[in-house]
Amino acid sequence: MKQTLSYDEKAHRFGRLSLCVGMAATLIFPLLLILVFRVPPDWASILSGTGSILLLMIPVSLSEFLSIAPMIGSSAMYIMVLTGNYTNLKIPASLAAMEAAGLDPANYTEESDVISTLAMAVSAIVSILVIVLGVLLIAPLSTVLATPVLKPAFDNIVPALFGALGIGMLAKNFRLALVPFLLGILLLGTGVINSALVLPLLILAGVLSARFMYKKGWVK
């Protein structure tokens, strides 16, 4: 037991360290521009802009954080936050890897933690490699990838990804999916809610309906 705690403890400690380092490192761009390239900062607009984005990001980040953090192991979360692209890359890769290892993503164990950590890290590395390749090939690539013929393919990566990933999960958990799926169609269809808030709302609705069904004994 003590050993388990320290693996997890260490994961958090290193996670915080790496995120702090990353956070400080992102300042390199503004600093390069101001100090090296001597671009005069327009403090008024910088303050105004950062104010707006913070106002926007606080509710969005908070709700995403609260709803996604439970699904992810400790180490995996730190990798994911540092590298971004969660819903369109990291989370699907992690879930797919867990299923490949024969683990039920809903039944979180230490094994799941290890596998999801490896999956996230590998996903981050592969992603970097692919993008480096993409950048090196950017001249020929921009003509190939940007052809209007291929456009629908890239516009539809996320639907294709979740189609393949979701079909198994949904079939097994049909009742749990009912409320969030229908609500999702309603919210996205009517556009009453800012699309950034739809995910946290669906997660909330899904959890509440699951709780309800659980209490009634409709799901086990």
């Binding site: 915080r16 490192a25 900062p41 105004s48 984005i53 490949a100 490896l118 294709a160 969030p180």
Partner: protein, 237 residues
């Protein structure tokens, strides 16, 4: 070519890219080493690890190509180095574009438009950088506490069946978000999703049927995804 782009695309900007990518690689390497060690302690079979890693790697390829495409759209406005760094760290295209536009608007110009110069670029850069601090700070300061609270409340529910139902509900809700969108949108999005789902079902059937088809399990997700995407291309011709 606008002047600010000369700065944005200056070789020195690539230092930033190298630094940030270096940090990501460092973090991943440390976590991989620890996870592998832990896997050894837990006695997880090596082929399960290999299989999981292969699937994670393969599943990451196509979405990463999409990020390259996103780069192609962002780079003409924000320069290649900065766009590259931003898309590899923390954010995604939708966030970066929005933040860049907020920066542009704050400086009184349209992103990449007539009045958008070095000053506006700097403002966008600052806004995009600071905006990410929210998620970073939440995670640095709040994640461990939050995770421990969650684990404790799941353990408290005794047998942990509620815990499993909760996890399933979370994941299913996440999926629902992205399965509902194509249904609402219709057209090629719905087609891709449907073709991909059906391919996955068929491939899984095939894999279950015969030992000869076991190797397919590494590729079933990627192949289904590509089939879905292909269907949308064919449909649009």
């Amino acid at each position: 070519m606008k002047e600010y782009l000369e700065i944005a695309n200056h070789p020195a900007m690539y230092l930033g890219v190298a630094l940030l990518l270096g940090i990501v690689l460092w973090q991943s390497a440390v976590y991989i080493r620890r996870a592998l060690k832990r896997a050894g302690e837990l006695g997880i079979a090596k082929d399960r690890l290999r299989h999981a890693v292969r699937v994670a790697a393969l599943t990451s390829i196509v979405p990463s190509i999409a990020i390259v495409v996103a780069l192609l759209t962002l780079a003409p406005v924000l320069g290649l180095p900065f766009s590259w760094a931003r898309l590899s760290i923390i954010g995604s295209l939708s966030y970066e574009l929005m933040a860049a536009e907020i920066g542009a608007a704050a400086s009184g110009a349209a992103l990449g438009g007539a009045g958008y110069g070095a000053g506006s670029f700097l403002t966008s850069v600052c806004v995009m950088t600071v905006g990410s601090f929210v998620t970073l700070s939440l995670t640095i300061f709040g994640f461990k506490w939050y995770k421990n609270r969650l684990d404790r409340s799941i353990k408290k529910s005794g047998t942990g069946t509620w815990g499993k139902v909760l996890m399933a509900a979370l994941i299913v809700s996440l999926y629902s978000r992205f399965l509902a969108a194509p249904v609402v949108e219709g057209g090629t999005a719905l087609l891709s999703m449907a073709v991909s789902a059906v391919s996955m079902l068929l491939l899984n059937l095939l894999i279950k049927k015969g030992r000869g088809f076991r190797w397919l399990s590494d590729f079933s997700l990627s192949v289904s995804m590509v089939l879905g995407m292909t269907a949308s291309v064919l449909c649009s011709l």
